[in-house]
Amino acid sequence: MTDAFLDPLPWLIVLPLAWAAMAFLMGAGRGARLAIVALAMQLFLALILATQVLESGPVTHVVGGWGAPLGIDLLADGLSVAMLLLTQAVALPLAVYAQAYFSREAGQFWPLAGFLLAALNALFLSADLFNLYVTLELLSLAAVGLVALGGKPAQVAAALRYLLVSLTASGAYLMGVALIYGVYGTVSIATLAPLMGSAPPMALWLSAGLMLTGLLAKTALFPFHFWLPPAHGGAAAPVSALLSALVVKASFYLVLRLALDVFPNLTALVAPGLGLLGAAAILYGSWRALRTHHIKRLVAWSTVAQLGYLFLVFPLLAPDGLALQAGVVQAIAHGLAKAAMFAAVGVLMLATGRDTLEGLAGVAHRVPLTLFAFGLAGVTLMGLPPSAGFLAKWLLIDAALSHGQWGWVAVVIGGGLLAAAYVFKVLRQAFLLAPEDSRFQPVPRSMEWAAFVLAAASVVLGLRGVELMALLAQGAP
């Protein structure tokens, strides 16, 4: 009894649900302070869980003492724990940032953020396909609520479009789950894995296709990216950061989980196609980022491009695990760097009162720490050493070379150069002299520091790659 009570797994889900409900009752001011304290505890719990998994392998928790197939099992292996650590590590600085950002009008930010994090943690810990569906829906509902938070017509329209894409995608996923249950009579990933033979029935093909298409739409992989720039580019800065850093990674995690554990044979067939879509996303997203004059849209298009790298992993998946490591490191590096970048852009927009690239002239002298944070995050996106982005791209190139697939190497390097082009476009504008009539608003220091901490983490993580690899090796197939 006491063992189950001290287990960090259920607490990672219960704690955000509890502070979300409390924040709804207490209002934004005290809700924010409670959220920050609780998020620090969540980060601590995730670290405890990471040490447990490193020492003794994957951890399971049987919810309420009811085992599968009737009850729900929670499972933490290396991959889940890496994503859990990323979630808590991004959420804590962003909460500090949001407390200052929403000093007057927070709306229901804190309850929605709490539900979002509970859904994310539950998703990473779920061990059956139906539970994953429920967490995916909870995540979408919270994310859509956050996009619509400001209540401006453009934000509500973006939220509605996002919701419809997301619901259609989950509908396709659910149909896939229904077909799998019809064929095998179970939805538990651990039970399904050994049942998958080399000659799967037609229904399984259909089900894999439906689930994969649904999840790709949710991850905003090219050509399903159309909903992302308005939703991420139009929301409040802390919301954009949460969505770009974490929410799209959740559906990517699920694609990876399905590819590794449920449909390994079927994935091998579509993997080259996924890689090509990823390459198209990198080139098209970067090109659109270069062309836009709206600073937040630039960062949102950069997300479309960076998500492409995650799908280059699939044609390179092999027992040596290089590609898997590259994918997870890229997910973590992009998560930290993109949260930092949206946070920094939020500060720049508050300071200048403008949202275009032209409006940035002179910010280098007024908010140098924030611009430094933006630059550091840019270093990770470009993939320069010693950042985590460099580690991810290096692993990807290593995997491509060991398979003799040179084409992917060109895409990775080309994408890095394009990222450099759009990052330097912003930096160049920032170092210009401000026009005489421009006015700068003072910005709370905690916001600048939160952006800086996230950006620094994305660079420093590149030096801690060994621990991450050891973690990922736990429970890998």
Binding site: Y133, A148, G151, L164, T168, G171, L174, A178, L179
Partner: protein
Amino acid sequence: MTSGLVFALAGVLLFVLGLGGVVMLSHALRRILAFNLMGSGAFLVLVGLAQRDGGVDPVPQAMVLTGIVVAVAATALALALVRRLHGAHRDD
């Protein structure tokens, strides 16, 4: 052909109709209704396919109940957003 299979085939038909609606219609309210049709189709497949040996399998029924709750919540959110958008356009 068993009754379970009839349900499942009807479910597939409903799902395809709903999917076509969500993708091709432009009116927000119709798209929300089409999404509900998609969901109902998936639920029918879930319950229909699982009734193989004549007996009733309780697990998919529990799943469908959960799914209905999620669909109702999602529909409510979508309707609230449509109302907000409609109100904003009327004020202009």
